[in-house]
Symmetry: D2
Subunit: 131 residues, 4 copies
């Protein structure tokens, strides 16, 4: 189960009036992280889509431990796993780089579909790296 | 356990290149829905914050059944429940108004804290309506 | 030159750590407003796209007079004008409903293109209502 | 007039159903770029705010030349200039790294205010680097 570490820096646009990062942005950062993971494995999500493979999110969850603040550099550790030839899962752990504080953990589950939204199998090469 | 129905219309900004609503936006719509629920109960989240009560999300999840598309009118049914005097939960069900299709279900859990982030009890009047 | 008035309520997600609505969201609200304008004229932007007409933004500007705050109800007055058969402009004025305060004014200019991004003329019926 | 080059990669969340980056995101990227510029000059916008200096956007504009697509790496060249001791401007040029295509140009103008929104002068050290 390959793992990969990505970095994002909290944008002003991503904060809210509580002075911290708005919770929905973690799902966006998860997307950044899993795309970086795929890239590190020799594929890109853009390539996948061009080959007719989409990975829509069918379930997402996130537990928030401590707030991220504006300009914080966050490390997102991600790993992916094949649940079936047509179902993939990614898990995420978010830390603040400056002090190592654990900020959040999450998980997304994805269907594998073609451009018309019909179930299909993940290509063998991607199955290989996620297995 | 009071329930309330809100409507949002999918904005162009909320779609992605798959042609459907991007999944993180459901968490934003959940926020709109629970704030409308509070308003319907005679309080507003803005008032709550001005009284020194914040309800940061400590856990969020969403299961996606079918895609929402640009310009779709969505109905979000929400209900809230008191888990403890310092812990609240809301659940959500999202349907497309046009055909009644069930699009997603979700849940958020919230701590009750003061402006400095310290745990506190929910005011009695709000406890009353959520119990 | 038809005019139309839309209402949006500032979402928590749209605020930033300054405690006010983040400036980029005005462009999103402008989009909501011009789509409502088209709808009021008997067409929808979704229909337009299904007829192979896209209106990508080629220029946008906004002047900010006073901040919008969380939960504020905003009125956005919009009007559209045909600059040429292949060029459209919309202008916007944003007020806070509660006190009528002028918050912002803006303008967007749009090309008229087909699904492949090639210039095309706006359909006659839409030209008619915007002229 | 110092200049600085930042890189952002277009996120899936930032695309829309036209298959390209949604136009409002350029304002967000501009914010990333000017904060990086300040950082390169030895200050950070977070520090500025902690010193009681806010730079709210009072005018923003962007001209869009060609669409950015998902996963594109974008270079944003930014420079800042002092219009007065209490007024700052930044300009931006966005290019796609892969082919150097010019995608957009923009400008933001900012007031200098304290935490209560009252006009104030920019600190001397920041004036120095922007002059």
């Amino acid at each position: 189960m390959p793992e990969f570490s990505s970095t994002v820096r909290v944008r002003y646009a991503e904060t809210d009036k509580m002075g911290v990062a708005y919770h929905a942005n973690y799902l966006v950062w998860f997307e950044v992280a899993r795309c970086n993971l795929l890239r590190s494995l020799g594929s890109t999500y853009r390539d996948l889509e061009e080959r007719g493979v989409m990975l829509p999110v069918i379930e997402a969850r996130c537990a928030y431990r401590a707030p991220a603040r504006y300009d914080d550099e966050l490390e997102i550790r991600t790993s992916g796993a094949l649940l079936s030839p047509a179902r993939v899962e990614f898990t995420y752990a978010v830390r603040r780089r400056a002090d190592g504080a654990a900020l959040a953990e999450g998980r997304t589950e994805h269907a594998v579909v073609d451009q018309r939204g019909r179930p299909r199998r993940l290509p063998e090469d991607i199955q290989g790296v996620l297995a």
